[in-house]
């Protein structure tokens, strides 16, 4: 490996020997193509005409009136597939094509990354397998159906609690046996090097756009940027645009589940301890001996016991602050944005909104907050209906 893939002491590539040569190949090919004129032009064209970039920065007037300060929403929910995930799957999918790989595999929690990978498998005519936990298959059946319509095979993962962690385990196992022709399209800014770097690279468009939109539309930088954090790809994407603007506060919101005190949550950065899982050193939810916890959250996409290494570094340095939003607050936020703005947010993104709502009355009225609306909530309507039946 040419680089260590470290963010402070976090990250690295803690994987079985069999995966080292493939990660080396991936690192080499990424650095070969990511600034290549042809690659950049093709990705730009697809991002615009296939995925729908740039996405708008929308001033949510009625929502702002409710919370008492100015809230701008970065509309990643409007992208093709309904989430920011397509930024990464287009980038990595194109990289796979340039590398001459013919097969894609991916893990998925909420199904958004699985769907975004299945779309790209169809786009490039690649055979696609999506690993998904049985619990997630059940709670995200619409996305499962969409993946199948795109021609992907959805592999049900039985291990553990049948969620994202188990899906990653099985995708890694499958990859070790099929390294020669298969590209593992990793979905978040975590896992072994070079994935955190690659995923961040393809998600920085969110932050770059949002920053220049702030300057164009508001005439200044925001005071706070808020995003939800599971593995952390949408958050690192939008944070990256403001990293050097020291006055812009960065807030990542994790899944508080039932409550952090109950132990039924996925608030990795808030209460986790440093360990090694899925190829990286990072904060983890684990017991005293190092067995990794089963997590719990109303949103499948944040239901993960580890987190991206760069977020771990940002937490330690204090550059970003990480908090947790509990399921009940998240459902309130989901309902509120829908009612005030006619925008149905994904339950994942509703965590970021819940934090914004919690700041009501605490921030001056001229405060500008940018929230990354990482995905739309159509996929979650049946879950919300179950938790909060309409009268």
């Amino acid at each position: 490996m040419k680089y260590k893939g470290r963010f402070g002491d976090y990250g690295g590539f803690y994987v079985p020997e069999v995966l080292i040569p493939v990660l080396e190949e991936l690192e080499r090919e990424f650095y070969r193509f990511y600034k290549d004129d042809g690659f950049v032009a093709e990705l730009a064209e697809l991002s615009k005409n296939y995925a729908g970039r740039p996405t708008p920065l929308y001033y949510a007037k009625r929502f702002s009136e409710y919370v008492g300060f100015k809230v701008y929403i970065k509309r990643e929910d409007l992208l093709h597939g309904g989430a920011h995930k397509v930024n990464n799957t287009l980038g990595q999918g194109l990289l796979a094509k340039y590398m001459g790989k013919t097969k894609l595999i991916a893990e998925t929690g909420a199904g958004q990354h699985g769907l975004a990978t299945a779309m790209i498998g169809a786009l490039f005519g690649m055979e696609t397998k999506i690993f998904m936990g049985v619990t997630d298959i059940e709670r995200q059946s619409v996305n499962v159906h969409k993946m199948k319509l795109c021609g992907a095979e959805v592999i049900a993962v039985e291990g553990g609690t049948g969620t994202l962690k188990d899906a990653i385990n099985d995708a890694l196992r499958y990859w070790t046996a099929h390294v020669s022709d298969t590209f593992y399209l990793f979905g978040s800014a975590c896992g072994p090097h070079p994935y955190p770097t690659i995923v961040k690279h393809f998600q920085t468009c969110i932050g770059t756009e949002a920053r220049s939109q702030c300057l164009d539309q508001i005439g200044r930088l925001p005071d706070v940027v808020v995003a939800c954090v599971g593995g952390g790809s949408n958050a690192i994407g939008i944070f990256s645009g403001f990293m050097d603007d020291e006055k812009v506060k960065l807030v990542g919101v994790e899944a508080g589940g039932k409550s952090v005190a109950s132990g039924k949550h996925a608030a990795t950065l808030v209460v986790g301890k440093v360990g090694i899982l899925h190829g990286a050193k990072a904060y983890l939810l684990q017991d005293k001996e190092g067995q990794v916890y089963e997590t719990e959250s109303v949103s499948a996409g944040l239901d993960y016991a580890a987190v991206g290494p760069e977020h771990c570094m940002l937490k330690d340095s204090g550059r970003a602050k990480y908090v947790a939003a509990e399921d009940a607050e998240v459902l309130d936020a989901f309902a509120l944005l829908t009612k005030k703005e006619g925008i149905i947010p994904a339950l994942e993104s509703s965590h970021a909104l819940a934090y914004v709502i919690s700041q009501s009355g605490k921030l001056p009225s001229d405060t500008v907050v940018v929230v990354n609306l990482s995905g739309r909530g159509d996929k979650d309507v049946s879950i919300v209906e179950k938790c909060r039946p309409l009268k």
Partner: protein, 266 residues
């Protein structure tokens, strides 16, 4: 304490190395199973401490991990288990496990405590030779041998690096993939052993997918210094979970069969 070197130099044939998950299905039965394997002719033991997320393992070992964890296995109890095994017989023991359990225990303390209990080496499935500096100082001062993996896609340059960091044996993975029994051996394993033998004098033990006495004999004929058999043997525990007598008899019979094949191959 018996060393790998002693075993490899005393034996006139390839060493027989069964793998078990400590505490599978539960502490006491697991100990009886390991005793049965020792009595049937195991030369070295490869033991795993169960982990919640064993990414290098196929379904058989995953299930063994779950059985063991569900029955209360912990790192502390694994230490006791090893002491009990060493009290029964002075046989070299290699641990094969995942990094997070060691990291949480504290690497230096883990190596010291487990070496004192009778462990000869610790192979960390998710720590490659690139990060050997995180462990090798502690391994050396604890008195442990180092063991690293080589796989069929490892480059020659990397094989040399791995050999230079290895004091125990090279754990050679026979195929691209995770642990699990297979009907057939990989066709390239003879060539892989040959290439390694041309590069280093460090003993070469081969594992992953070795499922019959015939497989073991073939690997030995190709020049391996040891044959590691995991999933096939652990499968006898899974298959006889309600019948301990048959579980012990099947493990014993299979290990005996492999030993005979290796003896005849000497």
């Amino acid at each position: 304490m018996k060393t790998y070197k002693q075993v490899f130099s005393e034996l006139k044939r390839a060493a027989l190395i069964p793998f078990f998950v400590i505490g599978d299905p539960a502490f006491d039965t697991s100990f009886e199973v390991v005793k049965a394997a020792i009595d049937a002719g195991a030369d070295i033991l490869e033991l795993g401490i169960p982990f919640s997320d064993p990414i290098a393992d196929g379904p058989t070992i995953q299930k063994a991990d779950i059985r063991s964890l569900c029955n209360g296995m912990t790192v502390k109890k694994a230490l006791e288990f090893i002491k009990k095994v060493k009290d029964y017989k002075d046989i070299p023991i290699g641990l094969l496990m995942y990094y997070n359990l060691i990291y949480q225990y504290g690497t230096e303390k883990f190596f010291n405590d487990f070496h004192q209990a009778g462990v000869n080496s610790v192979l960390i499935a998710d720590l490659s030779v690139d990060d050997a500096n995180e462990i090798d100082g502690f391994a050396k001062s604890a008195g442990l041998d180092t063991v690293f993996m080589v796989t069929p896609n490892t480059s020659e340059e990397r094989m040399k690096l791995i050999a230079s960091k290895t004091t125990g044996f090279i754990y050679t993975v026979s195929l691209l993939g995770v642990t699990g029994s297979r009907k057939q051996l990989s066709g390239h394993i003879g060539e892989l052993i040959g290439r390694l033998k041309g590069l280093t004098d460090v003993p070469i033990c081969v594992g992953f997918g070795i499922s019959t006495a015939q497989h073991a004999a073939t690997i030995a004929s190709a020049g391996a210094d040891g044959v590691i058999i995991g999933s096939k043997i652990v499968g006898f525990i899974e298959a006889n979970i309600e019948n301990k007598e048959k579980m012990l008899a099947d493990v014993s019979a299979f290990v005996g069969e492999v030993k005979t094949a290796l003896d005849n191959n000497a």
